[in-house]
Subunit: 338 residues, 2 copies
Amino acid sequence: MAVTMKDIARVTGLGLATISKYYNGGSVRAKNQKLIEDAARSLGYVPNEIARSLKTKHTYTIGVVIPELSNVFITSIISTMEDLLRQKGYAVIVCDCRSNPELEKEAVSFLLRKQVDGLINMPYDVTGDHLRPAIEAGTPVVLVDRILKPLEGQVPAVVLDNVDAAEQGTRFLLQQGHRNIGLVLGDRGFYTTECRLQGYLNAFSGFDVPVREENIRCGNYTMNGGYTAAKQLLALPEPPTALFVTNFEMTLGVMLALREAGIRIPEDLSVMGFDKMDLFGEIFPDLTLVRQPQDAIGLQTARLMLELLSPSGKTAPGTITLSAQLHRGKSTRELQNP
Amino acid sequence: MAVTMKDIARVTGLGLATISKYYNGGSVRAKNQKLIEDAARSLGYVPNEIARSLKTKHTYTIGVVIPELSNVFITSIISTMEDLLRQKGYAVIVCDCRSNPELEKEAVSFLLRKQVDGLINMPYDVTGDHLRPAIEAGTPVVLVDRILKPLEGQVPAVVLDNVDAAEQGTRFLLQQGHRNIGLVLGDRGFYTTECRLQGYLNAFSGFDVPVREENIRCGNYTMNGGYTAAKQLLALPEPPTALFVTNFEMTLGVMLALREAGIRIPEDLSVMGFDKMDLFGEIFPDLTLVRQPQDAIGLQTARLMLELLSPSGKTAPGTITLSAQLHRGKSTRELQNP
DNA sequence: TTGAAAGCGCTAACAC
DNA sequence: GTGTTAGCGCTTTCAA
């Protein structure tokens, strides 16, 4: 049987309340403090957070439900959130639902039974039905990276301004004189994919340049997908003079395909990447890209959750939209004869 | 206030014990079962696992402490473990200790206070001191990927036979006639690094070939590290005829460096990779590599934990060693004039 | 099969 | 500052 406060009480001769108060930062006579500390050490006492939770009604646990763990964007956001959350005393239970709506729903109810204080979700099921039980139970929910139309106004979210991000990137290439611009997207139907496509189209219509359907490819947000998409784009009768790739993994795949084909960047082809700079590191020392502020996304999400959890906080369920920043590197060049 | 069993009891007119039994799979009269289900649905009852845990002494929660989340080997192992564990009703709390022994120690005590049923650790602190509190508290611990000398015989572990893996890879290259073989390792001092180096050396002494010190490079287990190491190896007065790269991220970096340098594989240089095959996917369609059985590692770890947790199970704290398998791809070739 | 009651380890009034 | 006590939501004898 584990050591409990009762044991400490017995050994020290103090009352339970005193010991409890000590562990909750209350003021205790110095002599008794020493008594408690000594007893705790010699008995090997570890406070039981479960029992405490039962009483206090909060578990200091946050559930995080994500579609996939094998994606640097997701893992880097999780790391950032976890750092802040743990610093504030919260544990994080991560549930990878394997891009499966059934598992996603299950994960939510699982976490609810575990009495998590809050739920952070990068949603997969676009209906948002999986979150209904949480909302009904009054458990705070924060969405990351994607909003859910059916839940708009009910659940706050932290997202990138995806339309603007893609528009920025595309506009830059257009300004450089490119007219034939390949776009490598994630799968259709995803919130981010659709937004980024919209941004691309917006930029084109802003320049009054017609869009070539065949230039738009879906790379599934994976390295392989990007690789394949690049090969297809290169094989077109009129291959693009510039490529805009909309996430990290796909950019990696695209770069590999280009190297394999012996294509020089930016002499033969301009490339615009996406996502976080430092992950590309020294390998693509100065890739032109749309920088997604992932640290800020993770931070804001955690902060928002913390705010919802604070006794005062009942923040309005708005959407925090963060802006991407264009980084002008050396992988793009001005087209001489547009 | 949340809905509790008491509410169900009140509504149905049944006793607490009956309802509890129903939720624990006991047999209840069909009529009452329906009564309970209806009441639960209309009230929105969710069983409180916290209260249950207080009584039953187990939380169905496993703590996982890892050095870093941004590494495909680690995330893929976590995903595999989590799948099995969750399937058995266990939640997984992942703590990324950022390769910081202080944080690692803190993570363990944090999880202990949370009353996790077990602890899975890919250890960073080689002294293993951070795990002492868990061992003293009688909480089952399983190590993954690395063993801890000071804790040998006290804590079971699941690891790759790293020496043999590296020996296999190196021996294959030697058999192909290579004598000048570059080795790209992780940082010195790590368990896996030292084992893999040992394997390399073993193979050389088996062939009675002297080892060139300058061929051994540390790439920090990162993509950038691999990239840099490859550049350095290529710049040697007598560059190697083959490269053995000992993890996924570094292999990626090495491949990029080689492509950049316009080196053909395997015509100009043979390359042997490491880690899981399918992550390389179609991009390096047939890379020769030492395949690490990561799924098996994750599975065995989870299984071992489950076994320790089962009422019967008090498995001996041995080490499960899994073997790597050499995959003969097309990135290596026999040297004609050795 | 069902119900009454005790108690898991802790917190929080409240009285001292 | 300290001790007494009730009770968080559940499980689990034990008797009916």
